[in-house]
């Protein structure tokens, strides 16, 4: 593939990608606010339910992407939200069930209408559901002497408008989303802010309607925001990231689809799903890979510390004149840990088995110190039999830091010995 791919045929592919990117950007922007407010289902509902609004607008002479169609979509969206509320307050339905009833009915109505009148209007039933991104560049309007695809123009205007609206109302959106009660008490018009978000959702989805269809536009609304939420923990960063992820998926998805000769809109949604999957695995803090790695690393550290402490105790017993005669045969993990400790200079192999080096002893001192301090502290504060003290100490010894050890020591006294009468190694 070379540059001529983008410029051929009046930049047909470039325009298609640009349109998809614009739609994705608008959806990512609005979708973030929906997702953090746990309102993604409503986004789904709105994107479906606007269909009859669009059909009526087209029947009334509107053009896809025109102002009349935008208005029709917004009206249908608000009707869905209102119906959901009515079903909840008057019909006693749960909110999600109410939305389910309202939007599926309206969507079905739209499907029936568009099929019945398809021959008379400029709206193709298949296009309504899946969008035909590939055809977008052929319906153009002149702008400043350039032929610009109508769908791109709509998406761009909507994106710029929504960006401005979000920037201006950002404070109030965040306050309402986080704590609606306190926001209301502080004088924020919470109902208006929420309605504004729903109108914005309708605009973002109707702008993408022609390009990617009523079903796939939901993916653009929800998936980039959900992905971004895995990657960062601040709302403004999530928003920007969601927009970028959407735009990237638009570009990649279109190119892959062209190469495989399949639906561009579908492939864009697939790429969005892949982005999410990648985030699940590779997110910096909560990603599967990082969690598995952290846990594995911890187990390895525990294994090494346990081997050092075992060696330390053996040497303590020997020094007291009662050497341990039978040592348990180490298992594979323990043997590996021993090898690693030898490589890193903490154990030496001598004629009588493993012995601690100076470095190994320093580290083992702290493990045993943590263990015995904890036994002492627990023995004082909980009325436990002696044999109950060892297991919790065996676990906590890997978690105590120097400052906690000092605090325990300050409480139990520096000269204390542990409940079994053994001395506690000092802090270096």
């Amino acid at each position: 593939m070379n540059l001529s791919f983008f410029t051929d045929g009046g930049g047909m592919h470039a325009w298609a990608i640009a349109t998809a990117a614009m739609v994705a950007a608008g959806c990512g922007l609005v979708g973030t606010l929906l997702v953090v407010r746990r309102m993604s289902l409503l986004g789904d509902a709105i994107s479906h339910a606007m269909l009859p609004g669009i059909v009526i607008a087209v029947l009334a002479g509107g053009r896809p992407g025109g102002l009349l169609v935008l208005l029709g979509a917004v009206a249908a969206a608000l009707l869905t939200v209102w119906l959901t509320q009515v079903l909840r307050t008057e019909g006693g339905l749960a909110e999600d069930a109410g939305a389910g009833v309202a939007f599926t009915t309206l969507f079905a109505l739209g499907v029936v209408m568009v099929t019945a009148v398809a021959s008379r209007i400029d709206l193709d039933p298949a296009c309504v559901l899946h969008g035909v991104l590939e055809l977008v560049p052929f319906d153009t309007v002149p702008v400043l002497g350039f032929e610009v695809p109508r769908a791109f123009l709509t998406a761009a205007v909507v994106f710029v408008g929504l960006s401005l609206a979000v920037i201006i109302t950002w404070k109030m959106q965040v306050f309402t989303a986080f704590d609606a009660e306190a926001a209301r008490a502080a004088g924020v018009p919470v109902a208006a802010v929420t309605t504004g978000l729903l109108v914005a959702t309708a605009l973002a989805t109707v702008a993408g309607f022609e390009a990617v269809g009523a079903i796939l536009v939901v993916a653009m609304l929800v998936v980039p925001a959900a992905t971004a939420e895995l990657l960062t923990r601040r709302l403004h960063r999530i928003t920007i990231l969601a927009i970028l992820l959407g735009v990237a998926a638009a570009g990649i998805g279109y190119l892959v689809a062209w190469w495989c000769n399949t639906s561009a809109a579908g492939m864009i949604a697939v790429v969005l799903g892949c982005e999410y999957l990648l985030a699940v695995f590779f997110a910096p803090d909560d990603g599967l890979v990082s969690r598995v790695f952290t846990r594995g690393w911890f187990h390895w550290r525990v294994a090494c510390e346990d081997r050092l402490a075992a060696c330390w105790r053996r040497e303590e017993m020997a020094a007291q004149g009662n050497p341990l005669v039978v040592a348990n045969r180490p298992n594979l993990g323990e043997r590996l840990a021993d090898r690693w400790l030898a490589i890193t200079g903490r154990l030496n192999h001598g004629p009588r088995g493993w012995t601690l080096t100076r470095r190994g002893r320093e580290q083992a001192d702290m493990v045993v110190r943590s263990h015995r301090l904890w036994e002492t502290w627990l023995g004082r504060h909980a009325d436990l039999p002696l044999d109950h003290l060892h297991p919790p100490a065996e676990w906590i010894e890997h978690h105590l830091g120097a400052d906690v050890r000092r605090r325990i020591e300050a409480e139990v006294g520096t000269r204390a010995s542990d409940p079994h009468g053994r001395s506690i190694p000092p802090e270096p």
């Binding site: 109030m172 209301r184 008490a185 502080a186 960062t232 709302l235």
Partner: protein, 266 residues
């Protein structure tokens, strides 16, 4: 230290907060009946009562969050809508989603939004205020952290800091001590006492009788109606407590349900 509270009428005749014959209903079902209560001076004021007594509802009514079925509520002799920015609200901690992607200082800054209005962004003054508020509740060092990473007590203190950043004259807190560790309780109580000493009215919904006696200057005992109100020592008598906690007025509940049913069938 914030400036002393501004009184609106120069010789102040109206109480700081006055409930006049307030009845509150959820839907058609009354949950609070004919509350008459006036608080004239800055103090630590506790609203005490059993579960389901309508304590939180009383606060929400004062803040315009639930509509009144009857009566009126005035701050400094004016309706709440006129004095919004002078009233700081600390909701129950469980009412929000603590996984929400904002930092501690983002939340505290929300306390300044009411004054900023729609178009101004928080500037250096607001940031200083937020930092100062966080310092007062002992959370200066976690300002940049995501709120979900805090303990319950710390989260409650973040909410208190948000109200402090509002620099209000009246503070309204809903169960600030519920599910909070001892250290946080002490810190919160300390801050509330400071506010009282600086001439603010601090209104606290509270359920623990043991601590109520030692914390509050004045209390109101509430069980769907006002049982008694006044200085803590004179109100928390065994007779009043019995009337609040033991002699539950089941009649009020039944009546409430009856009103609701009647409304539905008519």
């Amino acid at each position: 230290m914030p400036a002393p509270p501004v009184s609106n009428a120069s010789p102040r005749v109206s109480p700081i907060l006055e409930f006049h014959d307030v009845t509150v209903a959820y839907g058609r079902r009354p949950v609070l009946w004919n509350i008459d209560l006036a608080i004239d001076d800055a103090c630590l004021f506790g609203i005490i009562g059993p579960n389901g007594a309508g304590k939180s509802t009383l606060l929400k009514a004062a803040l315009g969050l639930v509509p009144l079925a009857g009566g009126s509520i005035r701050f400094f002799g004016q309706p709440f809508a006129e004095v919004r920015s002078q009233v700081g609200y600390v909701p129950q901690r469980e009412t929000v989603d603590w996984d929400f992607p904002v930092s501690v200082s983002d939340v505290v800054l929300m306390g300044t939004y009411a004054r900023l209005g729609w178009f101004r962004r928080p500037g250096p003054r607001e940031r200083d205020l937020a930092r100062e508020s966080l310092k007062r509740v002992g959370l200066a060092d976690v300002a940049g952290r995501q709120i979900g990473k805090l303990s319950g007590g710390q989260q409650q203190r973040v909410f208190l800091a948000r109200a402090l950043a509002q620099q209000a004259d009246v503070y309204v807190l809903d169960e600030p001590m519920a599910g909070v560790d001892a250290r946080s309780q002490e810190l919160i109580f300390g801050v509330l006492s400071e506010l009282r000493d600086a001439g603010r009215l601090v209104l606290v919904v509270h359920h623990d009788l043991r601590t109520a006696a030692q914390w509050f200057d004045r209390v109101a005992l509430i069980d769907r109606r006002l049982v008694a109100a006044g200085p803590t020592a004179t109100v928390l008598t065994s007779e009043n407590l019995e009337r609040t906690y033991v002699g539950r007025l089941d009649l009020l509940d039944e009546l409430g349900r009856a009103v609701e049913e009647r409304g539905r069938t008519s």
